[in-house]
Symmetry: C2
């Protein structure tokens, strides 16, 4: 067995995205102890920077030591108790995963379904809330990575609050890529990943809980089933002050990477980052439309960072993706579920949202599809 | 907020251990997609190398995408169903954590307790098995990181098998540091961490399940509560063949690090690695004993990789650790629980198990304690 030297790819799939050399270098810095005072200082900075990225003052804002799926599970495992009724909005893969979380935890999932590629319907959620006055939580995906659709998190959270429900919001693909304001929008619990628009390596899931969510968490009648994800315990390590209680060993070097990516986000400015994603999306859109390639999602609900486009008729889509990967070192994503074989998913996330990536992608597709 | 440049430490605590520059460099290699064919080739190599490290032919041998605590939870969440009786051996912090896992999952924990610093008692476990013929699992810690004691995993597993029980074994600190033979000893389910004797950065937990454990897993009457840790799903991604189903985004760069550390383990040879840990332990022991510092654990049950030693009388132990850290950039560990303030834990794990580290540690302690 030899050392592994990965090929150098351009990552324009649904994540992971290209990781900036500064972030890669940070990953290689010397490992130190997870209770080292120097490390605890870095943890505090990371929390502050995540508050900025999420636009929140929530004290409980921190990175979970595992991928986005574990961040999702952290929200559900801490906030859903057996018997709790949860309104789960499904308009793609990740809404389905939310439902799985609810039912495995013994909760009752009330499903609000929308077509893949469409935003979560405000009216349907309102109807479900009226029909289920005992619902305790509304859960939905802000940016559906499987379809590229954005839902109106602000309106949905206001609606949930009117009906005295907490909200759990999936922001895996939205954080740092398009507008997201946790406090202004009244989001109660939210999770994301590092490998999308933050462009840090995968393996960490930033979460944030407000006071309403913490109230629910600290007033549970049953213990959290997961010891690893129990925020009552995790906060002993990620909480305030110099004294931290050992809970688990933090992924030290991956946190170096996240920290560096957050330094870069602060250097650029959050709104500038949102604008850059939008500008590159417009560039990609123009290029693809010039080739007759259209979008799954209507323009108003489209995510700039995840472009789901129809595959031209008569094309062997897997062969195109193979050619992009093998001949151009360029990764784009396949469709999931019912969309498999019908769409490609082209990511413009974080450091991947660059003019040079857009030009490469459009030019390579033109060559392969032999469009002059 | 500035880039974080950690101090360069020598890590001789209970983990993380020193990470070799080759492994750190591997962490900084370009991120590629978690479904990239090149990445899947690396996954297969990693699984094979873990089988070597564990001395097993178990097909289900793979790294969980989260720290050792999540590896523990993977074993319990997949193998314990509500109502299952589990014999949990407690002789330190991590046995207690096992009990937490069992009870949160709705299992019934039968506790076999031994003094901290002593090995798990074969006789007590036998007694518990006789008194609980309906017990389904015996769980114990092979190498207790909180005390530095080794328990006789071979004898305990044989005993459990006689009573038709599965075993769950914590090998977080033993893997690659001292003798461990999963197949020969009949261990059914085992978990470890990367940041101890493998000397890769923290954040990953290698596990292995044999056919008996898989039989229990696939014949559950209830779904696994955790979606993220459900091995029925995870195996769709880490399983055989070129086609892998997306489950979660793997921690790509941390896996590069683990892969490189496994390449280095294979270069050295597993038994040579065990012998190196033992040789450096002997060196440390001689140095400490020359200063009148003695061990908590009796010689026969002592782990070479985790040396728990009594703090000399009249010493401000926290001040000594601070001086080691601030004046020598050397980290050693404090005592946990009842041992806090009474012992230090000096790790000789993986790349930390080197003659130069031992000499530094002994010399620095001599200077601080002013022993001539």
């Amino acid at each position: 067995m030899q050392s592994f030297n990965p090929p150098v790819r351009t990552l324009m799939g649904p994540g992971p995205s290209d990781v900036h050399p500064r972030v890669l270098q940070a990953m290689a810095r010397p490992t130190i102890g997870h209770l080292d005072p120097a490390f605890i200082g870095m943890m505090d900075e990371t929390k502050e920077a995540l508050k900025y990225a999420y636009q929140t003052e929530n004290e409980l804002t921190m990175p979970v030591s595992a991928p986005g799926s574990a961040g999702m599970e952290t929200c559900f495992a801490n906030l859903v108790e057996p018997g709790d009724k949860v309104i789960v909005c499904i308009n793609g893969v990740f809404g389905n995963r939310m439902k799985e979380n609810v039912t495995r935890l013994g909760g009752e999932a009330v499903i609000v379904e929308d077509k893949w590629g469409e935003a979560v319907s405000f009216d349907k959620v309102e109807q479900a809330l009226k029909e289920n006055p005992d619902a305790k939580i509304v859960a939905f995906v802000h940016a559906e990575t499987s379809t590229g659709v954005a839902s109106d998190a602000k309106a949905l959270c206001a609606l949930a609050q009117q009906h005295d429900c907490l909200t759990i919001v999936d922001a895996v693909t939205s954080l740092a890529g398009s507008e997201l304001r946790v406090d202004d929008w009244g989001i109660d619990a939210i999770y994301s990943g590092t490998q999308k628009c933050l462009s840090a390596p995968p393996g960490i899931s930033p979460i944030s809980f407000n006071e309403r969510a913490i109230h629910k968490l600290t007033n549970r009648k049953t213990p959290v089933t997961s010891w690893f994800l129990d925020l009552n315990l995790v906060m002993g390590y990620w909480g305030k002050g110099a004294k931290r209680a050992y809970h688990h060993t933090a992924p030290v070097n991956t946190l170096y990477g996240l920290h560096e990516s957050l330094v870069m986000l602060m250097e650029e400015g959050l709104e500038n980052s949102w604008a850059r994603h939008q500008a590159n999306h417009q560039l990609l859109k123009a290029g693809l439309e010039s080739m007759g390639i259209g979008f799954l999602v209507n323009e108003a609900d489209r995510l700039p960072q995840l472009n789901t486009v129809f595959i031209p008729d008569g094309i062997d889509e897997a062969a195109v993706r193979s050619s992009l990967l093998n001949d151009y070192n360029l990764e784009i994503g396949a469709g999931l579920g019912d969309l498999a074989g019908k769409v490609w998913r082209i990511g413009l996330m974080g450091y991947s949202a660059r003019r040079e990536n857009v030009l490469l992608c459009v030019s390579a597709l033109k060559e392969i599809l032999a469009i002059k």
